[in-house]
Symmetry: D2
């Protein structure tokens, strides 16, 4: 049966596509080899670099996904048998490690508690121990979507520098880029991987990689097999504004519009501040419910996804299922070893307070339905209180509204 | 500056257009005189009749609005100088009366408290007093959008029958049709006026009138001037599946889809039950806030719009302005003599619990911001509690979900 | 059965909606009373005035059609019994006269051959004969869509001035505005009526009227009944950027985009030149087919629609039907006294050479199918030849292309 | 400057997206892990199998392109060092061979004249010579987009069978699938590669592979590196209606609609017959121009793309550039060794006679502009004549139209 009203999509990706971006993708097809096509393409790369905070390097756009971009980052810069260092602290770091192994890399896994971030000290120790620099890469998932944990990349870089180790720093920025501050050059990130369907507010279908100048150097010697994901083909075609194969046109036009929104309208600093403030409200709600997040330490709190631990005796999947079927609300599931133990609220992309209030209200109803003792409205109230307290523009707005608000109270209004 | 996230539209019209209806309007233009065009047109009229609950009469679709449909209903069935009886109990009954007067009708106005519905006893009395049946029409706004009051049309019909008076019953169903039960034939309504932008979940641009067989008879003698709004031209062209002038094609295709949703997917009874249940939750919230509605008597509670009286010393327009500018939430203003005294929450069309929770949460924040002492989350909690209590399908759903919900907890999930 | 490929829409309205305009109408609903809404509205009116060439007056936008705009122009400026002068030379002048009569005006009809334009001399004579200035308006259809005839409005104005007659000049600009030059102020036009679905490249649903300052004066004394179409209500609401009733939002956003295209991108002079050149090509094709147009004198050739007379013994409707069913091509029919005698090719709006070549090719096939002896490709060739000859930018383009065209011949192209 | 009117897209991909398919992609995002999602996914695979004519095997959908699907087909079934046999007769066979080599395969290239198809005799000879069956695969581009040549796959299969050789048959069906008859099982094709942007009438963004049961067996021993493109991950996730990583949702919904159009509305046989008939018309036009196609033998004529050789002294790129800049017409360029020698007219996907007449007319104008002596209208006339002659439904349609066509000639039509 039809479920009326708007679906509340609160998985940590794909995220809601803003109407303007949606509209921008309703395009007629065109020749991607035409003399006019580069007008579109050329503007995308420098703006992507801004999103990455990359001042020296190159970005590539593959008609693919984040998983494909993972593969591109690895195969273009490493050779089979190369040693890499990778902490595992959630499903996505796990899956990336799995890919590394299947690509023939020799992965030194740092097993880390799920709920913690990349362990800087252990990374430093491992690098210091690697006297002859066999480790070619340190692989960090910036925002572990499975646990709601954001690693401290500046800290990781500091650890690598302290160890004076030349390994490249590979980062999965899939669920952070465009939502959480990302400073590729400042943090010395060498390869950063993203997808279109998270902070970039697009459907899935683009796998994006940014490579530092240092990373691009390693391409020359990297022997992993790559054809579809070869940076060199991309680089050559991109130089003239083209792609080596037919690009996913609607997504490129959508990317143009989402970059406009992020960079030229809302502004990246405002985007980051919004994600921070909204996430804080969600965490206040979790606290008001008497529950805890999977993330154990505030220094790792994710501002794009919150994983909420359910009480003993409750299956988190039940909350998710009731939310989905009864309240038209999509939440993220606990994955792998977290299956059943938690549910996840994604709060990234094109989002505002009221959308989240609706979602938190829905979570409360679903939790009550499955037997979690939670006071109705308690989380909603906590989030409201936080957001009202932190609305720094309130004063200016109220002042202005004093002047304007009478404009609504007209009496000559027809049907 | 760009306001991120989805706009919360809670004015009592225009309402949210469902994605499917939006999609259905993205069409190439075509010849509205073609031999194929009637395939679209012909299906619309019988389905509109079902929405009206009309078993004997005709519906007309004007490229216009509810105001235009008002004019069509009046000019096709009345002559200048004709006497009509019209209770005035809100801005929309007021404006319709204003139109009647400007069209040269002699309106006997029954002044009624704003917040009450059509006064059946006084209507009956006026009709009884009209011994020689000079009154040609009784004009009732079914759902007075300005005050959140739904008149009792069955009661009005009973009053008319009790007075054994032959006047036609004219009804403004603009903010009720497709949301609240409407029984044109059973209630003996002769002319019922609607617009596309409320329960039909479309943009504005169609003015719709349904006329009973009795009303169609009066066309022959009605002398009010009409050309654009002439039923006769419509009737003649519609008979072959055409329109007398170029129709608003996207809206006709959108109407096809919204009729599908209302009649053939959700089902009218479910639509009405949903509006009732959602409205009850809103009223529980108002009660929890310690506030009252403009509607004074539960028998007139509107299930499509709730007008909330603000406390002394507060301007309702201030709440609306803060909600709009700070929280991306559109509320309805107090109109005319109600200006500043209330704000209105529209809850009709394509709506569900979580959308309303977001809106109620936003109302709470805006009220707090302008100094109305309201406990954070209190209204939200009251609505949640009501909706959980009244979700009749809960048991079935939970039972089914037991079987299914494990399907979410898979561990092999990539980016 | 599905007809594959793009439909060729060559009726003289509705016209093809450009993709960009189509996209601009895919919008979420919003409160048309909000403090933000006037940002949209306010820009529309001055741009509409530019399309009209009106430097002193006001434009109104009704959620309606051209027929509604006809009614608005008449009822706001005339009183029942007023005398007006109206040449009848096609179906649309006929229908407008019919409306005038139904509105109670006293119409002096100047019967004119279908295929000719407004007869300036007879208009002048009738005005001179009207010594005491009983004639309040002269009613001229600028572009008679039924016959492909464009009247000479400057000539009509000259005739009125020569007669020193104060009557207002009313013009139906439905199928000319935005396609053919229109100089409202220079030509002394007082009321000019248009619809959204022709040169403005939108779906039907907006009736537009522009009124001169002189016309606005007459509003005060005009006694025709009007409510929905009352200029005064519009004027009052528009002053603040609002409308007296719910506007057709998608069409307003679409209008914004189409005005951008016409005024700010292609430029009105280029739009007019394009329509002229395309129409000339069509007339060359008709000539090459050995057929004649309904328009008898080149001074009246329409640049938006060409009505092609079919030979004796052929029913024009047969051509149209075959074109529609077999070739996915919509042509305009002969109307009323022209029924069967002709078919019409609309060539207005968002159109270019190749679209017209496809249509002319389709017309040739349909004509051959029904037995009109026409040489295959002859009309297409004539149009091609004309367009190549008159492409004034050829030289510049070729010169530039010399430099650029190698960019297509790359060898490193994948799937 | 804006180019008015519809763009004529006649490159051999991407092709025009039908309005209905375009509409179907305007969707809100959703959780691709939800319990509802498989309803969409599950229907796609069996319908894709029908398009392939595959009765025993599996289809996979990658968020990628045809190039990615090439890679998937190769890496899932072959090991580095494996020998394969590949005729090279155009740019796309060349590029596929380049990929094979970069993936570490040992390619025995059969150099073939560009303009010819896969050489069955030489394939048979090479296979017969391979006594110990070192050749693991025969690689054939079904429709060589660069030259307008369609290889005879049934003939290739016959050659393989005659040689009693067990190699797998790999086919690039990118520019044939969904337009030209494809009989995977009957022809014994083992791997067939396609993209979304050709016969499937979608934007680029999906790489599709169909594998025979025999091909799926080889997966177990194939040692080429693959992760993103691994069939096994797809197979496992697809079994439950999911994907191993976030799918490109709009394209999946678009695929649903395009499969509906191809299979359930027009019908595959009608689709193939339409492509054949349209292509014949194009070839008649080329002949009328006095030019020749790149394809040397009628047995290899492609029904999706025609490569037209330009006369000595003319650069084909010049024709393309003039067509694009002056007439809003996109043609395909000559690639690699054919650069400058030809231009290509794509005629696949959602296409009809009039679209092609417009394109042929545009080609004539562009050729004349650059100095190719071609009689105006000659190609258009030849195509018209062919299409009129071969319209097998003419008689039925005319008969029916006799009855109906009067319905257009009504006289009561307003604006």
């Amino acid at each position: 049966m039809r479920m009326p009203g708007r679906h509340f999509l609160f998985v940590p990706g794909p995220t809601n596509v803003p109407d303007r971006v949606m509209r921008s993708m309703v395009i007629a097809m065109e020749d991607h080899r035409s003399s006019r096509f580069p007008e579109l393409t050329r503007g995308l790369f420098p703006d992507l670099m801004k999103i990455y905070g990359c001042r020296n390097g190159e970005a590539y756009i593959f008609p693919s996904t984040g998983t494909g971009a993972w593969e591109a980052a690895l195969t273009n810069t490493l050779s089979p048998g190369d040693k890499v260092l990778a902490p595992r602290f959630g499903q996505f770091s796990h899956l990336w490690i799995d890919m590394m192994q299947r690509l023939g890399l020799d992965v030194e896994v740092l097993e880390t508690e799920w709920g913690e971030g990349a362990p800087e000290e252990r990374i430093e120790a491992a690098l210091r121990a690697d006297k002859d620099h066999k480790i070619k890469g340190v692989m960090v998932v910036h925002n572990e979507t499975a646990t709601g944990v954001t690693s401290d990349l500046a800290g990781v870089r500091k650890a690598m520098d302290a160890a004076r180790h030349p390994a490249l720093l590979y980062v999965d920025a899939v669920s952070s880029l465009g939502s959480i501050e990302f400073k590729m050059t400042d943090w010395g990130v060498d390869l950063a991987v993203a997808g279109s369907q998270k902070g970039l507010m697009l459907p899935a279908g683009l796998g994006i990689v940014c490579a530092s100048a240092k990373a691009l150097e390693t391409m020359k010697t990297a022997k992993c097999t790559r054809v579809f994901f070869d940076f060199a083909d991309m680089k050559r075609a991109n130089a003239d504004g083209y792609f080596p194969y037919t690009p996913a046109l609607p997504l490129l036009y959508g990317l143009r519009e989402s970059l406009n929104l992020l960079l030229h309208e809302e502004g990246l600093d405002n985007v980051y501040a919004r994600h921070t403030r909204l996430a804080e409200g969600v965490r206040e709600a979790v606290d008001a419910w008497g529950l805890v997040t999977c993330c154990r330490d505030p220094r790792w709190y994710s501002n794009t996804v919150t994983a909420v631990m359910v009480p003993q005796g409750i299956n988190g999947a039940h909350v998710i299922d009731v939310a989905f079927r009864r309240y038209n609300l999509a939440l993220g599931a606990g994955l792998s070893k977290m299956a059943g133990k938690l549910f996840r609220i994604g709060h990234l992309g094109d989002l505002n307070e009221l959308m989240l209030l609706g979602a938190l209200g829905g979570v409360e109803m679903a939790m009550a339905d499955v037997g979690i003792p939670v006071e109705a409205g308690s989380g909603v109230a906590a989030a409201q209180t936080h957001w009202r307290k932190t609305d720094t523009v309130v004063k200016r707005k109220v002042a202005r509204s004093e002047v304007v608000y009478a404009s609504h109270s007209t009496g000559s209004i027809n049907t």
